[in-house]
Symmetry: C2
Subunit: 189 residues, 2 copies
């Protein structure tokens, strides 16, 4: 395009770590968190992603984020299946995985080695009692002040919404699977 | 984590291009589209992103997607400012830019050289009469059957929602800027 405008790069006078919650029943919560990781790269920011309750079904972001190394790191924890039909694992096993993820997060917070920490599906993990409300509140209160925290997943707890700075609810208006269209790679996983 | 489950990679029996609309007034529409581009990379899929009405204010995804080259390409078109206070440009100038973007999209569709085509903020561009409903419907009907089309932006047109397979509405529950917190890089732009 000719006649391009001058590009301004905004710099906040007061940088501060935000608490962002992405909840709701629609498509685009994890996807949105992945977009923040990508966007952060453009600013040279480091993002660490801890995914709860995922691990059985391949999702494109696992290899996608490798293209963003070393700025972005992703850990997927859990066995999958939790809270869905055909779940072959006991609640205690899912909880054990989620508790290991909490320990991992505690180490990440102590090391203070990222600008944005994404806790993918932690809202569901809380709802399903794989982690405790006090554990999530403790993550929020103990994080370094500069660090953004992004918490995704359905059914965000009201106390977490209260603590957050920015909260979006992604609502399903329609979804292809209701027309019996199968999940499509790149779009759905 | 020990005792990892076996990872399954789902392959649809019937691959098909989906029409996805991400609309609403909340944070996470463009971000979600960027996440789909990243996710596609994990499947080796090519994504082209055409951004409408952006161009004056730096956003992290511009450099972020360069790390995903050659799988992802991004074109930002427009002058920014459209529909917001302090807009120094005439409507005709914004429309000229948006019409150039439509020509670019037509060339991309003819060349059939991507798996996912993201039309970022095209819903707003339609609402602001920078593009016409027939033009957007024509893009949808003339795309190759395998190609996913993702249309983002507020105020998605009811006819476009009708044509879509998957539609999410991102609703603002709260936003940091209402507490007079400045936009933060990596999260807000």
């Amino acid at each position: 395009m000719d006649d391009q405008p001058i590009i301004t790069k905004f710099t906040p006078k007061k940088p501060q770590g935000l608490i962002v919650v992405i909840t709701g029943n629609g498509k685009g919560k994890t996807t949105s968190a992945m977009g923040m990781a990508l966007r952060g790269c453009g600013h040279g920011l480091k993002t660490t992603i801890v995914q709860f309750m995922k691990g059985d079904l391949y999702s494109g972001e696992w290899d996608g984020v490798k293209m963003l190394e070393p700025l972005v790191k992703l850990y997927h924890t859990g066995k999958g299946f939790c809270g869905i039909e055909g779940n072959p694992y006991a609640h205690s096993e899912h909880r054990k995985n989620a508790q290991e993820a909490i320990q991992l997060i505690t180490r990440i917070l102590s090391a203070d080695d990222c600008d944005t920490l994404i806790l993918d599906e932690i809202n569901n993990a809380l709802q399903l009692k794989l982690v405790d409300l006090d554990q999530v509140k403790n993550i929020i209160s103990s994080r370094p002040a500069h660090m953004h925290l992004v918490l995704t997943g359905r059914d965000a707890h009201p106390e977490i919404i209260e603590l957050a700075d920015t909260v979006s609810e992604v609502r399903e208006i329609k979804h292809a699977y209701r027309k019996e269209i199968e999940p499509q790679p790149g779009i759905d996983f």
